[in-house]
Symmetry: C2
Subunit: 139 residues, 2 copies
């Protein structure tokens, strides 16, 4: 945090995926999105120790295409629905555009973790990885 | 993001709670942590529109007491357990100390949302609020 109270982050890694446009995700078939690699920067790769194939991870992303000046929106872009505040939606357009994704680990290769069906486009910055626990957000 | 690739954030609000030390939480009784207010900055309070009592929210916090240089740790501080990378744990000490909490809305008052059993200490910065959906991290 700097003197102004700002928080300064540098991503821990990024998504390496064949998905370059989220609009294409439904075309990938029944499963929605393709498997993808989460590539972790070498300087923090030690923090992957203990992650194993089969684990469910919460992947926290930075939605760098998100517009940070949007406070109200029509859910899913459907203008026939009443406006909703972005904190009541999962819109990527929000004051702090953090995304939460859940995926299962299918492979690990050095500083890369391959996960199933990741709905994030290629190059998306990653901020954190956490294990999904039985009661995911209480521990 | 600045030219160096850093992401710069200013919190959207903070936690207003009687809890001043997480070690005290178990002493609050069977329910663990007390109810608390999430106070949203007036300039983004419009984004609360549509949140109602009974909603389950994911509250994304900034764990400002977290040490950002820790990559491996003993789970729950138990040195009899093998070390684990912090991405395989929920430790608050991690390169980007973002916390995820789940809580239910019990009251709304202007730019404040009261939630049940919030395991966050008084003053914790809040980065985002999202609705918990049936499949929480897929949408």
């Amino acid at each position: 945090m700097n003197d102004a109270g700002d928080i300064i982050l540098f991503p821990i890694g990024h998504v390496d995926s064949a998905l370059t446009d989220l609009d294409d995700a439904p075309r990938q078939g029944d499963e929605g999105a393709p498997d993808a690699w989460v590539v972790v920067n070498p300087d923090v790769a030690a923090a992957l120790l203990g992650i194993t194939v089969g684990d469910e991870l919460v992947i926290i992303t930075w939605l760098d295409k998100g517009r940070r000046d949007v406070l109200v929106t029509h859910p899913r872009g459907d203008t026939s629905r009443p406006e909703s505040g972005v904190f009541a939606t999962r819109s990527p357009h929000r004051p702090i555009p953090i995304g939460l994704l859940l995926a299962r680990v299918v492979d690990i290769d050095s500083n890369r973790v391959r996960v199933d069906r990741l709905e994030a486009i290629d190059g998306t910055p990653v901020l954190d990885l956490k294990p999904m626990l039985a009661s995911p957000d209480r521990r």
